[in-house]
Amino acid sequence: MNVEAVKKWMILFTEKVNQNKAYLSELDRAIGDGDHGMNMARGTTEVMAALEAKNPATVADVFKLTGMTLVSKVGGASGPLYGSAFISMAKEAGTTDSLLAILQAGLNGIEKRGQAVPGEKTMIDTWQPVIKALAAGNLSEQTIADAVAHTKEIKATKGRASYLGERSIGHLDPGAVSSGYLFETMLEAGVTND
């Protein structure tokens, strides 16, 4: 895996998150506390600053710095969740080049941190279908969009949205949407499985 492509990925992700900051917060206002855009914009902006300052040389180091920065700068659930994802991805990237294995490690990190499984209306509902499609060799923008859109139909049983019970149905999950950006920009940056 190419470290320059991974850095580009982080840059594009940061840009996308910041461009859609208001939209992410609006989604979070409907079923949460309305700060997901703020949280992710602050976190990724800090990641940019950290990457520029430290200029890590390996893929593992890029992921590690990204994860640590998100954990310490986000302030909401998405901090430890994305943070755990990237920290797990860093560990995996130390021993393999396989994007599939690395993303799977990231998902495992999220699941361990949040004790959630697919179908609970969280970012996992983006990660899991994306990884499945990647494994099957047919990951596309459409797979990502479908996974994100599907969270609208799910009742939340984890995270703040779970306080709403049935009322959470009919709304996109903000973390699933920001994870959608993560995977779209991964494709744009040309980070692939080979």
């Binding site: 079923i31 949460g32 506390d33 309305g34 700060d35 703040r160 306080y163 709403l164 019970g165 049935e166 009322r167």
Partner: protein, 123 residues
């Protein structure tokens, strides 16, 4: 549907104010009033402050939450005097008041709210 409001009663002024801050994040439009501490803002509860919280609340039906047991007794004294319909919950204070306002903001009715509150009963 009757307009729902929430009253939170804490022994500590800072807790009451803080809980309202937490609730406002998810419930911009919900009628929320509070009573924190005694008349002198010391630790305890105040019959007058609780009464004021009920009277100033725009809700017709009030969902009331408290932290420790002695607040409950003052709450019940006020309930016997107010015209409003009050529902008092023996539930985890912060977690349940947060749940209630989030649901009210989302348009849930009393029955749906009480269903969500039921597992939070601890007192």
């Amino acid at each position: 549907m009757t307009k729902l409001g929430v009253v939170v009663v804490s022994h500590v002024p800072e807790i009451a104010a803080g809980v309202v801050k937490l609730m406002r994040e998810v419930a911009k439009d919900v009628a929320i009033t509070f009573s924190g501490g005694t008349d002198e803002n010391e630790i305890g509860t105040s019959f007058e402050k609780i009464q004021a919280a009920f009277e100033e609340n725009e809700g017709e039906t009030i969902l009331a939450f408290y932290d420790l047991g002695s607040a409950k007794m003052n709450l019940e004294m006020v309930m016997e005097l107010t015209e409003k319909e009050v529902r008092l919950y023996d539930t985890a204070f912060i977690e349940s008041s947060y749940t209630a306002v989030a649901l009210i903001q989302a348009g849930a009715d009393l029955a749906a709210i009480e269903e969500q509150l039921a597992p939070l009963k601890i007192k």
